[in-house]
Structure formats: C-alpha cells, structure tokens
Symmetry: C2
Subunit: 419 residues, 2 copies
C-alpha cells in the first residue's frame, strides 16, 4: 500500500486557501506534475499505481482503485487506502474480474462511458442502473461514502479503464465530490492524461510482446533440425535472467539477457543436416564443423546498432567458452569471457543436462547439480555457479513451469553434451 | 508550414483579459491540452511539429524551431513561421547540423542546459558566449527579434533538444519574453512535457528498430542455406508496403506487412539441405517436399496472439497460391487467397525474377514486367498487378536503393522461379 501524508501535511491547507489565484496556480503545478509523472512511467503496473496515487493526492482522497478493460471484462488492478491498517495490495484482490455489463459502479461507467459522482454509495436508489458492492467494506471494516468513478477513454472514445476515487477529506471530514463541478476541466484533464499514459504503456507492452514472440519463433525455427525446443529456450532465457538478477545486474541488463539469450544457437542454421541430425556419435572432423556455430551465429547477429542484438552476438560467440580456457571458439579464459556468455553457458548446460535429447535421456537433477559443482572453475565461472545455487528455488520453479510437454527423467547413462 | 490563426482569432484577446482567474483557468486548459497533444503523438517527426506548434500557440509566437541532440551534434528538425509567405518546411533546412559546442544560441542552451531569454538577438553583446546567425533572416527577409530558447531535458537532466520560440506578439506588436518570468512554472512544465514526449517517442522508435532488426537477422538466418539474401528481404518487404499503400490500406496494415513479409520463407528451414541446396533441377518428388515450406512456415509462426505474427503466418501459408487456383499448398483461387498473400506473391516473384539466383541470372527489367503483365489473372491478383504498374517509379527506386552488392543483369535464359 502506498501511504500518502494525506491529512496531516497538506490535505487541508491547500483547499482552504482564500486566495483563488494561488489555489489555481498550485493546481496548475499539480496537474502538470501529474502529467509528467504519468508520461514518465512506462511500466504498466507502476503506471496504474501512479495514476491512483496522483489522482488521490490531487483530490485529497482516502482511497482509490483502478480497473482496466480487457475485452468485455474489467480487471481489478490496484487499490490504495490510507485509513485501513491492513495491506490492500493488488495481490489481495488480484484476478478479480467483473463483466463490463455488470450492475456495478465500475461496470456502469465502463459500459456507459459516463462519469459517476455519488455522494453516498449506501444511498444509491434501487432503480439505479448500478449498485454498490459492500463486501470490501465488510471485510475491511471500512465505510465507503462518496465515490467519483471516471472512465479513462482513449482518443477514439474507447473506455480503457475505470478510476474510482473514494472519500475525499476536507478538514478531516469526508465530503462529497460536489466540488468537482467547478473543476470539470481538471477532472477531464486528469482522466485524459491517465488514459493517454495507459495507451502508451499498453502500446509499449504490445510492442515488447510482439518482439519477444518474434525472437522466440525465429530462434526456434533456426533450430528446427536440432534438438532445441521452444521450452528449452524459455527455460534457459529465464535461468539467465535469474542468475543475472542474483549477481546484481540492473533491470536493463536482465531484460536484455532474457531477450538475447534465446538466439545463442542461431548459428546452427549453417551446420549441414548430415552433421546436425546425425543419430550416432560425431567424428572429430564433424565436431570441428559443429563447433563453428558460434562464429556463424555471431556473423548472423553481428554489426547491428541495437543493444539487444549486440548482446545476442556476444552470447552467440562466447557461450561455449570455458572458465579454464578449454572451450571454443576462442579458448578465452576466466574474465576474458564476456559475462553474458558465462551466464548463458551455465543456463544452457543445466537445461541441456536436465532435458531429454535424442542422444541422451534427461539427467536426474541431483546428477546435474553434482556435475555443475564438480566443474565449477573448470567449465563455469565460480561466481555464476554460486548465483545458481543461491537461486536454486527460482531455477527449479522455472524448470517445472516450462517443462517439456512429455517430460521424461530416465536414470543415468554415460553421456556428454553435444554442440 | 503549419499556419495558426495567430493574431486574428485569439492572439490578443486572451492575454489582455482583465480577469486573472479566467486567464489562469484558460492556461490550465491550454497546458493540459498541450500535454495531451504531446503524449498522444508517438511518431517522432509529427511529435516535433506538435511541440513547436503548441508552444507557439501557448506563447503567441510568430515562429519557432526545434533541434534534437544526436551525440555531440544538434540536428535541425523543424521551423515554423506564420509571417513568412514562403514555405519553411524541414525539407529546406533538413540535414543542417550544428555542434553542441558551437557559439550559437541553440548550441549554448544545449551545452549549458540553461534557458536563454533574449529581447533582441541583434543586440547580443560581442562578449556573450553565444551569437545569433542572421542568415535565415537575410534569406527570408525576416526580422527575428526576441527569442526564448529552452533546453528539453530528460529526467536525468540530459539535454535531448532545444526549442526556440521567436517573436511573441501582443496586440499585433512583437514583444519580449519578459512575461515568462511570472510564468516560470508554465515554461518549465512545457519544456518537461515536450522532453517526456520526446523520450517516449524515441523509446518507441528504438524498440521498433530493434524489432525490425531482429526480424531481418533471424529471417535471413532462416534462409542461410537458400538463395535469399538480406537485400531480397529488404526489397520485397518494401515492395509489399508500396503495393499496400497504392491499394489504399491504412498505415497499420502497411507497417505490419512490411514487418511480417520478410518471414514468408521461414519454413524453408524445415527443407532438407539435399533439396534446398541441390545445384541442378529438382525431381518431382523433391519439388513436392520443397512445396511444404508454406505449411512449415505457418506452423513455426502460428498460434501467436501478436497481430504481426498472425499476419506473418497468413503470408507464409499463402504466398505461393495463384489467382487461377493453380498455386500451393491449398489451391486457393481469387479472393479466397488472403490479400496479404496476394500482395507478397507479386513482391516476392518480381524480386526473384530481377535478382540473380544460383539457377538463373537476373532477368532484364523489361522481361520481368512482361511476365507480370502476361500472368495477370493467372498467377496474380489483377488489382495487385495494377497497383504494381501504377507505383512502378517507387518500386524501381527501391530496387536501385537496396540492390545486391554485386548486381549482375545477365541477358535471358529460359528459367523458372523455384520454390
């Protein structure tokens, strides 16, 4: 819950100012501030919290909540309340959905596109086309009184969400939202700003999703004739992200390694079918050819101005290097190996060990963990190995969630990882 | 040039209003309006025009211009002026760059991060760290007098650009910008809003670039063993966009077909090397296998929730269908073939014909155009063929601009397009 210094610090002062000009100037500043806060926030969940927080601050409200429209459903996203002691995070209410057509306040606002200004939700007449659901009040021993429910509309007048503001206070008393009648411009402006920020954040979300989807499909395609599956890429990219977080990298790095790592084996596209799909053991000469895939991958991904593809190039080239200098293609040693490559190396090998391949069964977890422990400082960067064991819970959760469709853990077999 | 109804309609009225409250309320509305206009505009060039336009409107200025910072250079982007008769579009001044450290007004603002408020640019003292370049005035027979030059800073205080406002008017007289001293909040707010919108637009631009880059690299990779080159994909995707525009599709469709079409042959990844890379003619049986690539492609791209990948799936599956029903894999006929597939079919074949492949030289343009005319209504949608000939200039410009590195147009040879 975000707790604002609601009543004490500035709640009463501002609106009791006798000077209308000062008040207006202050409101310009606040509204501008809101606009800036909202347009700066591009991560959807944080944006939703900011919308509720800033709108409450603007109208001096005890509480507020926000629904976003997903098709014909309104999805509950966030609730804030300064008076309640218990935590009202979105976790508590998450997943709650109501139909746009439901006889609720938010449903009515979403379907009609109208603003609702209710001075006491317990006195809504029976015949009204909406009604108040008291379960939140009952559960939390709270008294919702006045509600201002605003539709957030995009520039095509489509309702993207509903913002509900609850119990505005003046001199420590809960008042009605009647004062907004003098400030219709401000209310409209607030709703527009929130809607635009929401549209932008969704656009960015969609662009990102499309990009991630493209990377996955084309990375999977590039390994069509190889063993690697979409779920291998899902897992190893998430392992890479978890290891990076544990090692203290920032959000940007974590985001990029998760997007870039699925492209690590794209160079296998250049390996002849006869070698890539050979059922038996490879000859030394065939192995030599197989081991050119990092350079082929780096060539395919190289020379881009995009930071993401630059990282993908580094990973493609370095993910088969070993800490002791016995890897390929450049026999780099220790910290000569780019950190992205060191992280992905472990993520990739752990997943290959614990997955079934045509030339080997899936290893039991214990055996894979032992191998990683044993080859610490030979194959892997000890710091990455440490991060791996420190985040084993998360790693295993990912392993489970993105399991292959028919997972088979066959016991032992003396095998080695190919490629 | 964007012409605002500057003096006549509302220029004087607003600011001579005796009622400070009304004036302030109007300014709140305007500033809010600006915030909304700016956050709605996500296309960079249009955004820059909107920033200048709305800022001029806000301060009642005859002219305005904007530079964006690219590394250590300031790139001239846009100029607007209501008084000058001739067109001052960015075309005239495009490409003009000045160094951030130059002794110019914009250069000084960019390097110092300070606002400059100059009441007469012709009276800047010699010893000032900046000077006015009168060449624009001389060329256009204009008199720049007062200038307000604002740094547009992101939330890390980095200067992203410089906005220059020129000659504010009051009651038809050019005045100085001294009045902004009372409105520092408004000026700051305007600059912040512009900077945030600029940051957002750049972010979206960068995301799009990264996505396009990824699609190209992975699409090229997927055809590593085939004949298709990056420049084939560049050309055919641009041809597809030109054809779509000529046929009246909207910007979203055009954008998507340009991004989705490079993935059309991704299914070739599933074709054995022995067929894909066979130097001689394919046997009937080999051709049958080759002709499964649309279904393989659709499987690779299928089932996504991304509109882009949905279109890519449709294109992969349908780009070898023919208007007369004799194509593959589904022998669709006429308008049964999705329009995206009909457009890409022509774009792909035209480029294949006019490019050299291992089994054929590049056809001379005339011969390719004749084949397209002849097979109108057999192979191609007549409407697409018409759009093709109507936009032939643009097509040929693309052909030239994205030519293969060693283009060879060898004369005739009886050949057919494989795949």
């Amino acid at each position: 819950m975000i707790s604002l210094p609601l009543r004490q610090d500035w709640g009463d002062k501002a609106l009791t100012s006798p000077n209308r000009e000062q008040e207006l100037l202050q409101r310009i500043r606040k509204l501008t501030h809101i606009g800036i806060m909202l347009s700066k926030e591009r991560q959807l969940d944080r944006l939703l919290a900011t919308i509720v927080e800033e709108s409450r601050r603007f109208f001096f409200c005890e509480g507020g909540s926000l629904f976003t429209r997903e098709g014909e459903e309104l999805k509950f996203r966030i609730a804030q309340n300064d008076v309640l002691n218990q935590n009202i995070t979105s976790e508590n209410l998450k997943g709650k959905q109501i139909s746009v057509s439901a006889k609720s306040i938010a449903g009515f606002v979403a379907s009609s596109g109208e603003i609702l200004n209710i001075s006491d939700v317990y006195e809504i007449p029976e015949e009204a086309p909406y009604s108040f659901d008291p379960s939140f009040d009952t559960q939390n021993d709270y008294r919702t009184k006045s509600v201002l429910a605003l539709p957030l509309k995009d520039h095509n007048d489509r309702v993207l969400g509903v913002l509900q503001l609850i119990n505005p206070t003046r001199e420590s008393n809960i008042v009605s939202f009647d004062f907004v009648k003098d400030d219709q411009d401000l209310v409209d402006s607030l709703a527009s700003q929130a809607a635009i920020a929401l549209t932008n954040a969704k656009l960015i979300d969609n662009m990102r999703d499309a990009h991630v989807d493209t990377i996955f499909r084309l990375s999977v395609a590039a390994e069509y004739k190889d063993e690697d599956t979409a779920s291998h890429l899902e897992r190893m990219s998430r392992y890479s992200a978890v290891l990076s977080r544990k090692m203290g990298f920032d959000d940007l790095f974590i985001d990029q390694i998760q997007l870039a790592s699925p492209m690590h084996d794209v160079g296998k596209i250049g390996i002849p079918d006869a070698i890539l799909m050979k059922p038996g053991k490879l000859t030394d000469k065939e192995f030599d050819i197989m081991r050119t895939h990092p350079q082929i991958g780096a060539r395919i991904l190289g020379g881009s101005s995009s930071p993401l593809l630059k990282m993908a190039e580094v990973i493609a080239l370095s993910h088969h290097e070993k800490w002791n200098g016995m890897g390929y293609p450049n026999k780099l040693k220790g910290e000569e190996i780019p950190i992205e490559g060191r992280i992905v190396a472990l993520a990739d090998v752990f997943d290959a060990l614990t997955s079934r391949r045509c030339y080997k069964p899936a290893w039991p977890l214990e055996r894979a963990l032992n191998l990683i422990k044993e080859t610490r400082e030979e194959h892997f960067d000890p710091a990455v190995v440490d991060a791996f064991f420190e985040s084993l819970d998360q790693i295993l959760e990912i392993k489970q969630r993105y399991a292959d469709e028919a997972p088979k853990e066959v016991d032992d077999h003396e095998t080695s990882i190919r490629g």
